[in-house]
């Protein structure tokens, strides 16, 4: 298979401009002859659907939520990056580009990232025009903060609810198009298969979650804006229903899945408190600006703390190990996410973890409160402290917070070219669902930027290039390909319903999550990954023999919804392990024990692994086939990260 990334010729800074001129246009009167299917209504989906409808296309948009505004983009807290340089502190499109490529540990495409940095400035303009209430200075202009290790202040924010406000902006634009009739909105409707006619994406099969009705929808192009797959780990910061089904079923139909093992694990989450735990809550990374991370120096003290015999505040300074400050004197508690996460794992593996489960470290604000006063700390983090207390019952003003890393974001996703089209003509992937811009690690405040860049400013240009090549005829949903796909969906559902085994869907999901976290989490090695592949295959076989899905097919049935999703996670998990096993280097969020520097840092192997690993599905129990898209760096010099 020839993976043509379609990166335009010419100097980096001119590629997008030139490309926009070179792509084919669809004349305004003809756009109304084309039907576009958009799956998902998060930042990428809502912005794409609204923008395409404004251009004149007929859009059908699908969400499994009861309202488009509930997509998981809503939960993003921190902010959105843009190279506005409003702060006059030396930011530029080039700097944002450079930071993103470096932050991604040199496993992303230069051209894509540069375009992302270019359109970032338009996003802020667009959102402000929609009435997104960003934080402002007293002079009435927009405020910025620094974020995620960047040395400039380029992050726009709306308190700790930036994702919510941006999504509501996109949702309002979408709602406006629903009102005009250019967008037809399908809520509580889940995509369960992609339909290909003569190798082109021509429609989808959906299930109406209220009535259970299986429906077919035909269109000239299908845009998957369905988010990431972090829930393969069962516990993550993702929302409960976030899933990989749309992307995975497209993968089964031939779309390549790129860099599946690139997972971001966020260091500051509220630790697990018991087996009933359903999800993990992120605490903003900004806490590490003032909090000091530590665990007891001795195993004995840690054990006594876990048993509740002593309190953390009882431990004198000399009995504490501020391990990040000790190991990374220059960055201290502000090392990047992956480094902070891994080190928390190490100290807990040594037996020095705290909390009931031993899987937690302290994030202590005592020094900051002594230094700056309680009022200052309250002004900075008041809402976060409150949230923490609501969940844990502990007051972080008087006792250190406990944190532990959790799965947060997946950089991998469907392989796409520069136009955001997958290797299947007419099938596009936007936002977290694609792999394209973050390489092996995503910088803070860049997910919102990418979702909106793809939806507002990339796809409206690049979609036309494909559409212009198509004839005007309506796509016919009675084509045998639809019959076949619909039958496949129904067969799978009937199979799931008929097993009537002993174990619940959650039970399987939890076990898969444990395997993934143990062997394909913060640190991986060949032995563990091989073991995990075997365990997952076994678990998958058990699932199809022993899962218990109650209820009926023709009504609201959340067990069945989950079963469909977990069935796909059970395949995707294996692919992630295979990808992690084949990538014999450490880079970004992918850390292999075997490949580290003498100081314990990620050791890339640029000679052999400077490529995108794009996997082709060959069957449920067959080995996937690897395709490589070499990455070429003409503008940025590859360096070793160091935070000492």
């Amino acid at each position: 298979m020839n993976l043509n990334s379609r990166i335009p010729e010419g100097p980096l800074a001119e590629k997008w401009e030139k490309h926009k001129f070179n792509v084919k246009l669809v004349n305004p009167a003809n756009k109304r002859k084309f039907d576009i299917i958009v799956v998902g209504t998060g930042l990428a989906g809502a912005s794409a659907a609204a923008s395409l409808a404004e251009l004149g296309y007929n859009v059908k948009v699908f969400t499994f939520h009861d309202s488009p505004r509930r997509a998981h983009s809503i939960a993003a807290q921190g902010g959105i990056n843009a190279a506005k340089n409003y702060q006059n502190d030396g930011d530029s499109v080039y700097r944002l580009f450079y930071d993103t490529v470096k932050g991604g540990d040199y496993r992303s495409r230069e051209a894509n990232v540069y375009r992302l940095a270019q359109v970032s400035v338009n996003i802020i303009d667009q959102c402000v025009a929609q009435g997104v209430p960003f934080a402002r200075e007293y002079g009435g202009l927009l405020d910025n903060r620094s974020f995620g290790g960047a040395q400039v202040s380029r992050t726009f924010y709306a308190k700790g609810q930036t994702g919510q406000q941006l999504l509501l902006g996109a949702y309002s634009a979408l709602s406006r198009q629903v009102a005009t009739g250019k967008v037809k909105l399908y809520t509580r409707t889940e995509m369960l298969d992609l339909v290909l006619v003569d190798g082109q994406a021509r429609g989808i099969i959906t299930r109406n979650l209220i009535t259970g009705k299986i429906e077919r929808h035909a269109g000239h192009a299908v845009l998957l804006c369905t988010g990431g797959y972090g829930n393969v780990f069962y516990l993550s910061t993702n929302a409960m229903a976030s899933n990989a089904t749309a992307a995975w079923r497209a993968h089964r139909k031939g779309a390549l899945f790129a860099n599946p093992c690139f997972t971001q694990i966020h260091p500051t989450c509220i630790p697990v408190s018991g087996t009933y735990q359903s999800k993990l809550t992120l605490m903003s990374e900004s806490l590490r600006n003032d909090g000091r991370v530590w665990v007891p120096k001795s195993l004995e003290d840690a054990a006594r703390i876990r048993k509740g015999e002593i309190k953390p505040t009882d431990l004198p300074e000399e009995a504490r190990d501020y391990y990040l400050e000790r190991r990374y004197p220059s960055f201290g508690n502000l090392v990047p996410r992956d480094v902070a996460s891994r080190n928390a794992k190490y100290v807990c593996d040594e037996g020095r973890g705290v909390g009931g489960t031993g899987l937690a470290v302290y994030l202590d604000f005592a020094d900051a409160i002594r230094r700056d006063g309680r009022n200052t700390i309250e002004a900075r983090y008041g809402n976060l402290f409150e949230m923490y207390e609501k969940i844990t019952g502990d007051d972080p003003y008087t006792t250190p917070m406990m944190i532990y890393p959790a799965v947060h974001y997946t950089m991998g996703g469907l392989w796409v070219d520069y136009n955001l089209m997958t290797n299947i003509p007419g099938l596009y992937a936007l936002g977290e669902a694609n792999f394209s811009d973050h390489g092996a690690n995503r910088l803070g405040a860049s997910a919102l930027m990418q979702g909106l860049a793809d939806g507002y400013f990339v796809i409206p240009y690049t979609l036309g290039d494909y559409i212009a090549s198509l004839p005007f005829q309506k796509v016919d949903a009675s084509h045998p390909a639809f019959d076949e796909a619909e039958k496949g969906v129904k067969d799978t559902i009937n199979k799931l319903m008929s097993i009537k085994g002993k174990r619940t869907v959650d039970d399987f999901h939890r076990e898969l999550g444990n395997i993934m976290w143990e062997y394909c989490g913060m640190a991986r090695n060949a032995e563990g990954l091989q073991k995990a592949i075997g365990l997952i295959q076994q678990l998958r076989a058990d699932f199809w023999k022993d899962v218990n899905v109650g209820g009926n097919v023709d009504e609201l049935n959340m067990s069945l919804e989950k079963a469909n999703r977990v069935a796909d996670f059970l395949e995707l998990g294996e692919l992630m392990c295979r990808d992690a096993l084949h990538r014999e280097e450490s880079c970004g969020g992918h850390f292999r024990d075997e490949y580290q520097t003498p100081e314990g840092e990620a050791l890339r192997n640029d000679e052999e692994f400077t490529y995108v690993a794009a996997w082709q599905y060959t069957g449920a129990n067959a080995e996937p086939q690897l395709h490589k898209e070499p990455l070429q760096f003409d503008n940025v010099k590859l360096t070793q990260r160091s935070y000492k």
Binding site: D66, G131, M240, S278, M387, I391, E555
Partner: protein, 250 residues
């Protein structure tokens, strides 16, 4: 701790529905309320019964999916909290907890605790936006907004569309929900151009959906998980009256 749950079970929109009692044992006080419901559901599925259906997603109080009427209060006994952020430590061993869906004509029950809140989407579609297309907008800093105004607009914009305001109101009024969006956009310069038309259309849609009127009991603000102020309803009333007397519709 051990608890007795009194949960509303209803097979579908046309089923009459009723309360079913469940005894829960060994509930950890660190659990969230929804995790406790998960435990119940796991037990039900293992017994071959149907799990209790309820809407939920982010479980951090921002998506607005979860919507349980707990012991007579939307989202339960804690102030400023969505159901998903409610934790079992606020209950005591031996408590009986009653769980119901939102009760409002405009929010028909779909199944168990799941209700249809699409009326809210239709109200937004009626005018809850600034009519700008993608592209062709001015530079973000060309629209200065006084910080106080921006902060106030933000306070209105934090609405998560859960519907607790409607569930709390004896009239099942959606005034707080509509007022939050009307106020956010009326406060900001970007939204001023369409402010009259917007409030007229959104209020008309609100009425058409079958929501009740406001009689200023303020229960909505008390139960709102985002603690959105009652003042926005006053602001919307001003907007509405102004629009009616000086309509832009010519």
């Amino acid at each position: 701790m051990n608890l007795t749950l009194n949960v509303w079970r209803q097979k579908g929109p046309h089923d009459k529905g009723g309360f079913v009692k469940y005894e829960m044992t060994d509930i950890n006080h660190h659990m969230s309320f929804l995790e406790m419901m998960d435990v119940l559901n796991e037990q039900l599925v293992k017994k071959g019964e149907e799990p209790v259906h309820f809407d939920h997603d982010c479980r951090e109080g921002i998506c607005g999916s979860c919507a349980m009427h707990i012991d007579g209060r939307p989202h339960g006994p804690m102030q400023g909290t969505a159901t998903c952020q409610l934790h079992m430590r606020v209950f005591k061993d031996g408590d009986t907890i009653t769980v119901e869906p939102w009760r409002a004509k405009a929010f028909p029950v779909i199944k168990d605790l799941v209700v249809d809140r699409s009326a809210f989407d239709r109200i937004i579609q009626a005018g809850g936006y600034v009519s700008v297309n993608t592209g062709g907008v001015p530079d973000a800093n060309e629209i200065p907004v006084p910080k106080k105004i921006a902060d106030e607009a933000f306070n209105a914009a934090t609405c998560i569309s859960c519907g607790a305001c409607v569930a709390a109101c004896k009239n099942a009024s959606a005034m707080l929900f509509v007022a939050a969006k009307v106020s956010q956009l009326a406060l900001l310069p970007q939204g001023k151009v369409e402010r009259k038309n917007r409030v007229e259309k959104m209020v008309a849609q609100m009425d058409a959906e079958g929501f009740g009127n406001c009689t200023n009991t303020q229960a909505c603000s008390v139960e709102c998980p985002k603690e959105i102020s009652q003042d926005f309803i006053a602001m919307m009333n001003r907007e509405y009256i102004t629009a009616k007397f000086t309509s832009d519709n010519v």
